[in-house]
């Protein structure tokens, strides 16, 4: 009998604790609760808060529609969306890397949105062929080199970095990062798996340091003299130059005589179970507009996806270049093969 008392008092105590927590939670989050109305668009985003908040604030100012957002890692948010199914609060899913967008599309998480505004704003290779997702900013992944130790004329292609002249002079970012995966996926698309495999082996052989966790570390390593050349997304270069304008580093546009520089996107799609589809479409169109595209460029030194918009001043200084126009859904399709290849070739 005593046990029963203990148990029931424990339960009462637990219930009290949980309900008081819930009460605190309710009071605490009441502003958000009130904000949930037809005039709110809810976004799950793997783009970090400081990069999306200014955009959403500008959107709210223009349209009166509030944006509520939850950040997280791309893969984890996709899993959450899948499990939430039609209970999800999300009207839009926003993420970086075409591979993630493609995968979310393949898991039936998006609905097709192909409005005239989006079609005219965003070029076709930066959009899903079925309209499931739309690229909103372009990041170019290209070669960065030390102006002290490398002559520009020695550089040409990503494949060239696998040749013997770069032995112990190369730094790369880890193969675990989506940007490396999509680059290798594009190489498989352009040159086939065998040739790409040889290039990766060459890269691994030329590495002068364990692959870095971040692009910024790759550039720091070049500056410190650990290596002479690397491959990075251009906006990381933009951030570095903003802090230390005199750094003896320069970008080189890879593959200009062949397939063009590999580009990737950050983008978004309207979720299949969006409760505010109209608002989400409106947000998507607004994000592709000239106004938003300028904010994108200035916040993160990326290239506008909308070709009618000029690049940010700093970005324009790096010069124009030919893009690889492979449709980015291919990067998604080929990513698993790319990872397998990198793992086999020992590219960490």
């Amino acid at each position: 009998m005593d046990m029963k008392k203990i148990i029931s008092s424990t339960i009462v105590f637990s219930v009290l604790t949980v309900s008081s927590i819930t009460a605190v939670q309710a009071t605490y989050s009441s502003p958000e609760v009130q904000a949930v109305s037809d005039e709110t668009v809810t976004v799950y985003s793997s783009r970090k808060e400081h990069l999306i908040k200014p955009l959403f604030e500008a959107f709210t100012k223009d349209t009166g529609i509030k944006v509520e957002y939850l950040t997280g890692k791309g893969g984890a948010l996709i899993e959450r969306l899948k499990l939430e199914g039609d209970n999800t609060q999300a009207d839009m899913f926003m993420t970086v890397d075409a591979g993630n967008l493609w995968y979310a599309g393949s898991q039936d998480l998006f609905q097709s949105v192909q409005t005239e505004t989006i079609k005219s704003n965003i070029p076709v290779h930066l959009r899903d062929p079925k309209g499931l997702w739309t690229g909103l900013s372009v990041r170019a992944r290209t070669i960065v080199y030390s102006t002290d130790r490398v002559k520009e004329q020695d550089l040409s292609t990503y494949a060239n970095l696998a040749t013997d002249q770069w032995k112990d002079r190369l730094c790369l970012r880890t193969s675990k990062k989506v940007y490396s995966k999509s680059l290798v996926a594009s190489m498989i698309y352009n040159q086939g798996e065998d040739k790409t495999g040889d290039i990766i082996s060459g890269w691994v052989n030329n590495l002068s340091a364990t692959p870095n966790a971040k692009d910024s570390h790759v550039m720091n390593s070049i500056l410190a003299g650990q290596c002479d050349v690397g491959i990075v997304n251009t906006y990381y270069f933009g951030r570095l130059i903003a802090k230390t304008p005199d750094s003896p580093l320069k970008l080189f546009w890879a593959n200009q005589d062949t397939t063009g520089v590999h580009v990737n996107v950050s983008g978004a799609g309207v979720t299949k179970h969006a409760s505010n589809k109209e608002g989400a479409v409106q947000l998507l169109e607004w994000l592709s507009s000239a106004k938003a595209q300028v904010i994108y460029g200035s916040l993160n030194k990326e290239y506008p996806a909308n070709q009618k918009v000029a690049s940010d001043d700093v970005v324009s200084e790096w010069g124009s270049f030919k893009q690889d126009e492979m449709n980015l859904s291919q990067a998604g399709l080929l990513q698993a093969r790319a990872v397998r290849l990198m793992q086999i070739k020992g590219y960490r």
């Binding site: 949980v18 970090k48 675990k176 990872v339 397998r340 793992q343």
Partner: protein, 536 residues
């Protein structure tokens, strides 16, 4: 009579333990969906390498924390040396720094482009080196992050031996070293083993530090299966192997273990040995050096970074971050401790039942699961319950559970049950059957027995367990990141988001607040520890 009672307590203990262990079951059930192709690729190309690098890491970290934690604890408890008194507490402080924060600070300083190496090359003309090559640097990092576990438990154990030690030493005239190896160490072995076990489980589950160093472990394969090959099933299957390893580790540790405790019951402040002259200063220097490297230096770096960016980074948002961090931390610690106490209460039924012992063991295995695997396991588990519920004509519970903090708290409880339970159980073991018997003879009901005998005796363990859980919840990232509802960003999330973008200066601001928060919790622990050693 006993049997009838036992049925009820069996049902309740089983219910709670199995609920806490739910993510483990979800992970184990993944074997129902075999995926041969990916397994073939993994086993052919990467698994053998990953297993050996994981073993190297575990071995290095295990031996490292064992040596460092034990030596520090011994010096601090047994030897009088300059600064010993405050260092005894200062050595707890690294607990307050999340492992990945320490890792990015170390890399910022000691990587090829970090200023320590730049200075070595420029001022001393030494050749530069790739600090991330091989495994020594990451082992060292983990040792400096996790030694406090061993230190904490071993220190408590040494403290309990101290008086006898003085006696034994005096009577036998044995040298301090001999006493250490022949008396102290064997007596402290269970505590050392418990500390090493916790460290190894943390190391197995880590993803932040290993990805900053780009060091591949078994966890790398889990994330690759999930992130690269989009196979949540293989990820779960791999994770279940981690749980199996943890289970074996616990089994062996349990065999060697007596009563490891996190708290002490020190009766006197007098120490058996006095270090003098050069020896004393060398000991000081060593202990202080560890403190510098594991706490003061990283803190200094964080303060420098934070100072330069606090104007950009600080905003009213931080009040929200601090509020949600506090609410989650405190409520998770309370719930975990309550359940752990319930599971750890001494009872006749438990003693007699292998079943109960096993389900409780199961409930503590979540500690070995990487946080995000645990989180997804929970999401799947809830979804399954909904499916079953719908099958029997009920309704889906998904919309109630998803997007509320219930799920997040559930994840914390599952993940950190091991910490709370082992601390509380150790104090429960102290309660000798004779207490129970005499209380019973005097006619006390079980409820009174619990309130007036068990709980007071278990208090130090409950407090220590609660505080450890609180510090861990405060630092927790992957599960929080995945499961939190809108508006529940924590300091750990803010730190991660900024540092992931390479904005270390700004990331230092939330990191510092977290360290202060953690240090406050450690101070509470310190106060209670002192108080409880005075009263017991």
């Amino acid at each position: 009579m006993l049997k009838e009672k036992c049925i009820k307590s069996k049902i309740w203990i089983s219910f709670i333990a199995l609920l806490v262990a739910m993510p483990i079951f979800v992970v184990a059930f993944s074997w129902a969906m075999p995926e041969h192709e990916l397994w073939a690729h993994f086993s052919e190309n990467i698994l053998s390498g990953l297993i050996s690098s994981t073993l190297v890491l575990l071995l290095g970290v295990g031996v490292g924390v064992m040596l460092l934690g034990t030596v520090l604890a011994y010096l601090v408890v047994m030897v009088e040396f300059p600064g010993g008194k405050w260092l005894e507490w200062a050595l707890f402080l690294p607990f307050a720094i999340p492992a990945y924060v320490l890792a990015f600070v170390y890399l910022g300083v000691f990587d090829y482009s970090g200023y320590a190496q730049v200075w070595m090359r420029e001022a001393l003309d030494l050749p530069g080196f790739d600090v991330r090559a091989g495994s020594w640097a990451i082992i060292l990092t983990f040792v400096l992050v996790f030694y406090p576990y061993v230190y904490m438990m071993t220190r408590a154990s040494f403290k309990r031996q101290k008086l006898n030690m003085i006696e034994a030493g005096r009577l036998l005239g044995a040298s301090p070293l001999r006493v250490f190896f022949q008396v102290s160490l064997p007596l402290a072995r269970p505590a050392v083993a418990a500390g090493v076990l916790v460290t190894l489980m943390e190391t197995l589950a880590d993803f932040g530090v290993v990805s900053l160093f780009n060091y591949d472990t078994f966890t790398t394969a889990i994330y690759s299966a999930w992130g690269d090959f989009r196979s949540i099933e293989v990820a779960a299957q791999l994770a279940s192997l981690l749980v199996l390893v943890a289970f074996l580790l616990i089994y062996f540790e349990k065999k060697s273990r007596g009563q490891a405790k996190y708290y002490s019951s020190d009766v006197t402040n007098k120490k058996p040995y006095q270090a003098t002259g050069l020896t004393a200063w060398l000991i000081s220097l060593f202990v202080f050096g560890v403190f510098m490297l594991s706490f003061a230096m990283p803190m200094l770096q964080l303060v420098i970074w934070g100072w330069s960016s606090v104007a950009d980074e600080w905003s009213a948002k931080y009040f929200d971050l601090i509020a949600s961090t506090s609410i989650l931390t405190i409520s998770a610690a309370l719930i975990t401790v309550m359940l752990a106490t319930f599971l750890a209460l001494p009872s006749q039924c438990k003693k007699a039942s292998i079943w109960l012992k096993s389900v409780i063991r199961l409930a503590t295995l979540g500690y070995a699961l990487p946080g995000s695997v645990m989180a997804v396991g929970l999401l799947y588990g809830i979804n399954q319950i909904s499916i079953i519920n719908i099958h029997f004509g009920g309704e889906s519970i998904n919309h109630i559970i998803y997007g509320s903090i219930t799920l997040l708290l559930f994840a914390y409880v599952s993940r950190f049950m091991a910490i709370a339970y082992s601390s509380i159980e150790a104090s429960a073991q102290q309660i000798k059957p004779v207490f129970t018997q005499s209380a019973r003879l005097l006619g006390a009901s079980r409820l009174r027995l619990i309130w007036q005998v068990y709980l007071p005796m278990m208090t130090p363990g409950i407090l220590a367990g609660g505080l450890l859980v609180a510090v861990d919840v405060m630092k927790e990232l992957p599960a929080t990141y995945l499961l939190r509802p809108f508006g529940w960003d924590t300091l750990a999330i803010q730190t991660y988001e900024l540092s992931a973008e390479g904005l270390y200066e700004r990331a230092a601001v939330p990191a510092l607040i977290m360290v202060v928060f953690g240090a406050l919790l450690m101070a509470v622990f310190q106060y209670l520890d002192k108080k409880s050693s005075r009263t017991s």
